[in-house]
């Protein structure tokens, strides 16, 4: 049943009454998978390397962890220094970045070591986002700042000296009220990112230079922002529940103009939510928009027509809603994560500490290679082998066939030559005899 699902919606709310987070089928609106547990906080739901689901608890200093295939209950709880207000996982799944009050913690997933704590924000961190190549991450906070951090220098800086605090690559202070959402486009460092703020504006900026390209003012405070994959449209959700669409391309040239062109005159607003829109996500093909709101619902919109296609109802304010391509364990409920998750440490990991204490010496990584996987692996290999074999025999046969064909071709050529030769003889004989006979007669 689940084989054809390409894209699905993953949502969570604060209450966690039915489930902590839920995977919805976009076509039918049915639930594909649910993960039971406490409610999750805003911007605190992440997939970790297609193997785990992390969710920051709403009011507790905890991060809940589920292995994707086991949905029934929380498998692991990571205790943090405070309530996690924002969390992000690097695209390669190596690092988890979490905002705790005004600090940003960076954990290495495989060891659980706390590699760095960044304290450049003056107030609480509200959102975190990685660039798609994982080289940088953006952070934004209640202090109106957006910071661009290079991951490598942040990590290297932390290991060299304790007192030395790493510097962000760029500091953007264009907003005048707390930043509520960040969206980082694709293209690694060349990406463009969008930030939303309570000061009723959205800013679009380059990650590489930190230059602001566009500032759009709305008539309402903006609480969420996203762009489509091609970055031709920007969507901004406001506190009053409206979602505004801004086209990042020039107005198409209209050769014919109809006076009754009411389609565009309404302005490009998605109306439907009653309360503030907390999260937005656009599908891969840029045709559908998922939005979550405090009015206890997530909605799926058709972008070209701006209609609400489907409503997913929740038991509390929706805190996370994203469209994603669900990894197979999520759908099938089978398989097991290959890497064990170490609990996240609460104290900064230093090299010196590693030699003294027992736990620090473990710079190794645990990998699950149980019996469970053996069968599967060998099975796959067998399959591969037979496939290879089949291909091989096929090509061999073909080779022989070609060879025989080749031989017959030679024969034919020989035959042709022979026939030509006979023909030649026949001709000469005829010519001689006929001429001679004519001459004589």
């Amino acid at each position: 049943m689940a084989a054809h699902v390409l894209e699905a919606a993953l949502t969570s709310d604060t209450s966690g009454q039915l489930w902590s987070s839920c995977l919805w089928d976009l076509q039918s609106g049915t639930t594909l998978a649910t993960y039971k547990g406490d409610g999750s906080g805003p911007r605190g739901l992440c997939l970790l390397g297609n193997q785990y689901l992390l969710s920051a608890a709403n009011n507790k200093p905890l991060i809940h962890v589920w292995a994707l295939q086991r949905r029934d209950h929380v498998q692991q709880r990571m205790v943090c220094g405070g309530r996690v207000s924002a969390m992000a996982v690097s695209p390669d799944g190596n690092f988890v970045v979490a905002g705790i009050a005004e600090k940003i913690n960076i954990w290495q997933v495989c060891t659980g070591n706390l590699l760095s704590v960044l304290t450049r924000h003056y107030q609480g961190v509200t959102c975190l986002s990685f660039t798609d190549d994982g080289s940088h991450f953006l952070s934004a906070g209640d202090d109106n700042l957006v910071l661009v951090w290079p991951l490598h220098s942040v990590l290297s800086g932390a290991s060299t000296a304790v007192g030395h605090s790493p510097e962000p690559r760029h500091t953007l202070s264009h907003h005048s009220l707390p930043v509520t959402d960040l969206y980082c486009g694709c293209g690694g460092l060349q990406a463009r990112a969008a930030s939303a703020s309570l000061d009723q504006t959205c800013k679009l900026f380059e990650v590489s230079s930190g230059q602001v390209l566009l500032s759009v003012s709305f008539d309402v405070s903006i609480t969420s922002v996203t762009m489509d994959t091609a970055e031709t449209r920007l969507f901004a959700g406001g506190t009053n529940g409206n979602i505004h669409q801004v086209n990042l391309h020039a107005q198409p040239v209209q050769r014919e103009k109809h006076i009754e062109d009411t389609d565009d005159d309404q302005g490009q607003i998605f109306k439907g939510h009653g309360k503030q829109v907390t999260c937005l996500s656009v599908s891969m093909d840029g045709s559908q928009l998922l939005s979550g709101s405090h009015d206890h619902s997530a909605r799926l919109w058709d972008i070209p027509s701006r209609q609400c296609v489907r409503t997913f109802s929740h038991k509390g304010p929706v805190t996370n809603a994203m469209l994603l391509q669900p990894p197979s364990p999520m759908l099938s409920g089978r398989g097991k994560p290959s890497a064990l998750l170490q609990p996240f440490k609460r104290h900064l990991h230093t090299q010196g500490q590693g030699e003294d204490t027992e736990e620090g010496t473990r710079d190794t990584v645990d990998i699950r290679l149980g019996q469970y996987q053996k069968g599967m692996v060998s099975e796959g290999l067998l399959q591969n082998y037979s496939e290879l074999k089949r291909v091989h025999s096929y090509t061999e046969q073909k080779d022989i066939q070609e060879k025989s064909e080749h031989v017959s071709k030679q024969d034919l050529e020989f035959e042709v030559k022979r026939l030509k030769h006979i023909n030649q003889e026949l001709y000469q004989y005829a010519a001689q005899n006929i001429f001679n006979s004519k001459g004589t007669s």
Binding site: Y122, D142, S217, H244
Partner: protein, 897 residues
């Protein structure tokens, strides 16, 4: 044939010796010319021939003629030609683009003309052409011009070299970008002008440069004056170069500069299209920039080499001009210009190098510059601080007072420049050589700040600039703190002028905003920022820029959790946000700034919120600003919060009461006053308990927007039922107390009923009657057009508003069965009492309107009393001749039945 005797005699007579005798007058020769006649010249001011086809000058010469004459061997003809050409171009500006190439070519050839008058005229022509042409037009010919300019600069004749500087001035004035792109040629020539190459044979050691200062004893100008002139130009040139590279650098790196920054406003009425990446032609700067490595000019030029060759020359110049011995600090007035020039060029050179530094991390340039620094420091600081003597009047020799007063202004400028140049090296100072002179510089700066007077505003900027630089590069915290303390003392002193104070505020604001991690702990800055809210209240709000800057500082301090500042802000709350406070006197963008500050306040109690709601009623505060304010308050209240942590700054009951008072739009006192007015209300609806008082249209529109907005906000609360309970209770209380309502409040009440009342919820009995009266009053008002209007325009606006009021009233009635029922009963009683005819008629019209409204037909039917009431009304109207009204009433009543 023999010659005749006569002829022979005559021939001989020609050769007779004329005997001249003393005392006798010399007889006039036969062939003498009589010069006694008088003559007059025929002056032809212009030619008779006119050629209308081509532009000509006052002599009717066309361009072609004039250009050929430019090559004439006679200087006067050349001069005539050049002036004629200029005249022509003045008369016909349109001719310039057509002949630009020829004119510029001839003109630049004349830079090296031997005749000074011609050169001067040619430069005049050049200036005129430059002023008329654009950069793009000139740029193809500019290589030609610079080639000739370089010729002139290196010319063997001294006066030609002198005049070349004038050409350079013209170029610098009009096309600095073009000139700097060819900086390679010209900068080298500058050095050449004040120096001569050392012999190649002399072995160069590492420290000495390849040039030495040249002295020309034959020159009219003293070499000091000449050098000063050249340095002045060099200063201008470097300045242009720096600004050019800074601007291009901005474009590339996207610094704070707002280039390419698009600001758009999304309004819901139309789709917003923004081309984020517009098609942009790359800048046409092909030239040599400071930052770029590949010079466009053929001569391989690097700024570093140039700096290396120039530095020793500058130092030599300084040494020659500076006061004699060690520790002498008196500078003669005539050399002060020169010394100032040296300092300016030094400073600029450093800036250029530093700008270049930004591109490449490791640059040997600076190190070489620093290498020279030992010398610089030695020379510059020998007599610091310097005193420039008063420029002595050109009077008689004996009366000159050598030891006279010092020129305070000039010496101040000079000393500051020295400070500036010296502080440049601080950044790279590793071996502590700076310590020797740092104290002197500091003392000087502090003394500058301590004795300020009214006319020191000009210098204050320089002083502050130097201090800013020092603070930026200085590694030691305590010293910075001292400087800041001095600045702060200056700020606090009462003697300084407003302008100076503004400068200081600007300086401190910049310093605070720089986000220097070290400076954030600075006590002085912290104190200063804490005092800012008070300053905001007292400052002159006319200076928008300053206000904005201060607000910016306050805001960033608030975001950084500056508790003292926030406390001070709370203390000044009334003055800032109160009626007649700062908020009302600012422009909308600044009001938004001020409103944003509210976000950071830790606790907003009931008193503060009531202050705010009063401010929101002020007309000076626009609707968008009020909406913004409400949104910010909501963001700080538990309404928006996802999870509860700590106590929110605004609690739910308070924000509810704030919203309600905003919706009502009038304070309790105002409403009380309305009740006590003994006179009839402005609009009197017969039979209805609710009466209406007039409010200006503008205020009504404002309140309409606000009422709708507050209702939308109220809908955001988590439990609509509870919100309605609160709203209902408030409305009940208000409507119970006040029977005379302003129009805008009436509208707000109805809108609240429409938007907030959950369908299906029944209204309480106590609220029902007042609401019914409100509806009746509104219907009556809008149906009968009771508001007097003056002109057409307001009439339309008035109609619109009344239409909306009517709509709201009808909706309210439609939403509740009870309201309709009680109204019908009420009017039945009213009509039965036997009022005047016109009143009955008014009621009848309202009733008709109700019956005509589709949404109301069902509730009317369900009351079951409709037919009876209609009958009663019709009985009262029976003897009337208004048959139309009657018949339509009968018809509508039959429809509903």
């Amino acid at each position: 044939m023999p010659k005749s005797a006569k002829k022979r005699k005559a021939k001989r007579a020609d050769f007779n010796k004329v005997k001249l005798k003393v005392g006798k007058k010399l007889p006039k020769a036969d062939n003498v010319t009589d010069t006694s006649f008088k003559s007059k010249a025929i002056h032809l001011p212009d030619q008779l021939k006119t050629d209308a086809s081509q532009p000509t000058n006052f002599k009717q010469q066309n361009v072609k003629d004039l250009l050929t004459q430019c090559n004439h061997y006679s200087a006067s003809v050349r001069h005539e030609a050049v002036t004629g050409l200029k005249d022509l171009l003045v008369r016909h500006p349109a001719a310039i683009p057509a002949h630009l190439s020829l004119v510029l070519e001839k003109c630049s050839e004349l830079f090296v003309d031997k005749d000074p008058v011609v050169r001067k005229a040619a430069i005049g022509l050049l200036c005129h052409t430059f002023s008329q042409a654009s950069t793009n037009q000139i740029s193809p010919f500019f290589p030609l011009i610079t080639a000739h300019l370089c010729c002139a600069m290196t010319h063997i004749f001294e006066d030609i070299r002198h005049d070349s500087l004038t050409v350079l001035d013209a170029c610098l004035e009009h096309f600095p970008s073009l000139l700097t792109s060819r900086s390679g040629q010209i900068l080298t020539n500058f050095v050449g002008q004040i120096s001569s190459m050392k012999d190649k044979g002399v072995k160069k050691d590492a420290t000495s440069s390849s040039h030495r200062l040249s002295v020309n004893p034959n020159s009219k100008l003293t070499s000091l004056q000449w050098r000063s002139k050249v340095l002045n130009r060099l200063h201008h040139f470097l300045k242009a170069m720096l600004s050019e590279s800074v601007s291009t650098g901005d474009r590339q790196t996207g610094d704070v500069g707002k280039k390419g920054f698009v600001d758009e406003i999304f309004d819901g009425s139309r789709p917003l299209y923004v081309q984020v990446f517009p098609y942009s032609t790359s800048s046409s700067s092909t030239g040599f920039l400071i930052g770029s490595k590949t010079p466009s000019t053929a001569s391989l030029f690097s700024l570093r080499e140039f700096a290396e060759s120039l530095l020793p020359l500058l130092l030599e110049t300084w040494v020659e001009g500076s006061p004699g011995g060690e520790g002498q600090s008196l500078v003669r007035a005539d050399v002060s210009d020169l010394l100032q020039g040296v300092l300016d060029v030094l400073g600029l050179l450093w800036q250029c190098l530093q700008h270049r530094e930004q591109d490449k991390q490791q640059d040997p340039t600076k190190t070489s510059f620093l290498h020279q620094y030992k010398n610089i420091h030695l020379h510059l600081m020998s007599g610091f601080p310097y005193m420039v003597m008063e420029q002595s009047k050109k009077g008689k020799g004996p009366q000159r007072d050598q030891s006279g007063g010092t020129n305070v202004q000039a010496s101040l400028i000079m000393n500051l420049s020295i400070c500036d140049v010296m502080t440049c090296s601080l950044e790279q100072d590793s071996d502590g050589t700076a310590a020797e002179w740092l104290d002197t510089v500091f003392d000087y700066l502090v003394s500058c700040l301590s004795d300020v007077d009214d006319n020191s505003a000009d210098h204050m900027e320089n002083v502050l600039r130097v201090i800013q630089h020092v603070i930026k590069v200085l590694p030691k915290q305590d010293l910075c703190e001292d400087l800041l303390t001095a600045v702060h003392n200056c700020y606090q002193s009462e003697e300084i002028s407003d302008r100076t104070r503004q400068q200081i505020v600007h300086f401190l604001a910049q310093t605070y905003l720089q986000r220097d991690p070290g400076l954030q702990k600075s006590e002085v800055l912290t104190n200063w920022v804490a005092s800012l809210p008070h300053y905001l209240v007292t400052m002159d709000t006319a200076n928008q820029q300053q206000t904005e800057e201060v607000l910016h500082v306050v805001q960033s301090a608030a975001t950084r959790g500056h508790s003292c500042m926030v406390e001070n802000l709370m203390a000044n709350f009334q003055n800032i946000y109160g009626v007649g406070g700062l908020l009302c006197s600012l422009s909308p963008p600044l009001q938004r700034h001020l409103v944003q500050l509210l976000y950071h306040l830790p606790l907003l109690g009931g008193l503060k919120l009531s202050t705010l709601s009063q401010a929101c009623r002020q007309r000076e505060v626009g609707v968008p600003v009020v909406e913004y304010l409400v949104q910010i308050l909501l963001a700080r209240s538990p309404v928006m919060a996802v999870c509860e942590e700590g106590t929110p700054p605004v609690d739910t009951p308070r924000i509810l009461s704030f919203l309600m008072s905003l919706m009502i739009g009038h304070s309790v006192e105002e409403l009380k006053d309305l009740q006590q007015e003994t006179s009839r209300p402005d609009v009197w609806v017969p039979g209805c308990r609710t009466q209406i008082s007039c409010v200006s249209l503008e205020l009504r529109h404002r309140q309409k927007a606000l009422a709708k907005f507050t209702c939308e906000c109220l809908l955001q609360f988590s439990s609509p039922d509870q919100v309605w309970k609160v709203v209902g209770a408030v409305l009940e209380r208000y409507l119970g107390m006040f029977h005379t309502l302003p129009m805008d409040t009436l509208y707000a009440v109805l809108v609240a009923m429409v938007m907030l009342l959950h369908p299906g919820t029944e209204i309480r009995k106590e609220l029902m009657t007042p609401i019914m009266h409100c509806c009746w009053a509104a219907l009556d008002l809008s149906i009968h057009n009771r508001i007097p209007v003056s002109d057409r325009e307001t009439e339309v606006a008035e109609e619109n508003w009344q239409g909306e009021l009517l709509h709201a009233a009808l909706q309210t009635m439609a939403s509740s069965q009870g309201v309709v029922q009680s109204w019908l009963e009420h009017i039945e009683a009213f009509v039965k009492e036997g009022t005047e005819r016109c009143n009955t008629e008014a009621v009848a019209k309202v009733l008709l309107k109700l019956m005509q409204t589709p949404e109301l037909q069902r509730p009317l039917q369900q009351t079951g009393v409709l037919q009876r009431v209609v009958g009663t009304v019709m009985v009262c109207l029976r003897e009337d001749e208004n048959e139309k009204l009657l018949s339509s009433m009968v018809y509508q009543a039959s429809l509903i039945k």
